[in-house]
Amino acid sequence: MTVPRTPPGTAAFCLALLRRQLTLAARRPIEIGNPLLFFAMVVALFPLGLGPAPDQLAGFAPGILWIIALLSSLLTSDTVFRSDFEDGSLEQLLLAPQPLFMSVLAYICAHWLVTGLLLALVSPLFALMIKLPAAAIGALVASLLLGTAVLSLVGGIGAALTVGLKRGGMLISLLILPFYMPVLIFGSAAVQNATLGIPAAPYLAVLGALLCLAIALAPLAIAAGLRISVDA
């Protein structure tokens, strides 16, 4: 008889999950590149639609950058659980002895690392392209770092609720876009303020508060949504 093995602790399990998700993402680099490419292309659309006048672009830049970041996060959130649902991994995850709350956080964290974090890091490049004043770039990166994490968490709720549906793609946008609005308001306000030379810190603080709330509550909804989707 072999020595009985105990299940790994929650932290170890979540780290393994995180590593698994990141490895999966790294093996399909095009999926990581897609949101960034989307970001670049939509940024190019705005001068075409609004005209190339730098002043005009600069005025809209905070809102434009934030809306594109929001859309690229939205477009990728559908995939967070889908492949795991289709190959049966999700069932196994639900049966794991570790709390689902934490494992779901690991999934969302992996999603944020390959979308939100990268978006925030490359955003200064696009910001310069549409003439965002250089003074606001710090605020842009900081607000995107905080805000996209909230977007990933909220997007996870939509993903969990629609993962069992064959045509979930459009539905997920209808479900979660209303919940994205506060993040958009505070995120773009932070950047807007920075362009005017007003401190952006208060809005970043609000985004941080939203993030805390989302970390505390969103995994509950995601876990419930996954249980329903696997059962349906």
């Binding site: 009985p4 093995r5 790994p8 590593r19 289709e86 190959d87 196994q92 995850l93 002895p97």
Partner: protein, 205 residues
């Protein structure tokens, strides 16, 4: 003589009724699974075998009435193999989402060798066949320490020798004091008493 079933129940089911689409699949199902029991669920297509197994595993949480009590960790293998095509068999087992245990590399390699995947440890799974995917999944049985196994059609897409090995493994598991509940269309060729749970008649001895 194999050790007879006995000891504390690993799983108890009471007054279980299931209705799907206005049709009653089973009603007032009551049984207990004890260490040393090898239970095969039988029934025609659509009799509710998979539904019952999912209820036992805890994946189905509503739509039925009655109670299911699980007293030990369990391992559930469903229709889907839960094998990620982008990961190698070794990675699939090392980072398995079921979170049963953290296995060492030799343990994983040994289990993979036992299911006939020696030499395939580092091949990306998308290069493997459907049967090999099933085998990666079955390797979990060699690693598992869970006393209770719930297996949904474990013999699907497995070749003849694989079936024989799997049957041996199941018997070994129940002899060690584990229990197995499985659904299958073929009858088991094992030197061990198999209890048949027929979904039209209730539990037969």
């Amino acid at each position: 003589m194999p050790p007879g079933p006995g000891g504390e129940a690993l799983l108890t089911v009471a007054a279980l009724c299931l209705e799907r689409g206005g049709r009653e699949l089973f009603r007032d199902l009551a049984f207990a699974v004890r260490p040393g029991q090898l239970v095969q669920i039988e029934g025609a297509n659509g009799a509710g075998k998979t539904s019952l197994l999912r209820i036992l595993a805890g994946l189905s949480r509503y739509g039925y009435s009655g109670s299911v009590a699980r007293h030990c960790p369990l391992l559930y293998l469903g229709h889907l193999s839960a094998v990620k095509a982008l990961l190698t068999p070794r990675e699939n087992l090392a980072w398995h989402v079921a979170g049963e245990s953290s296995y060492s590399r030799p343990q994983i390699d040994e289990a993979l060798a036992k299911v006939g995947l020696y030499g395939y440890e580092d091949v990306p799974s998308h290069a493997l066949s459907a049967g090999q995917h099933r085998r990666v999944n079955l390797a979990r049985l060699y690693l598992s320490q869970c006393p209770l196994w719930l297996l949904d059609e474990p013999f699907t897409a497995i070749d003849k020798s694989g079936v024989a090995e799997l049957e041996l493994l199941l018997v070994e598991h129940v002899r060690r004091g584990g229990a197995v509940v499985l659904t299958s269309h073929q009858s088991l060729q094992v030197a061990y008493p198999v209890q048949i749970l027929s979904l039209s008649e209730g539990l037969a001895a």
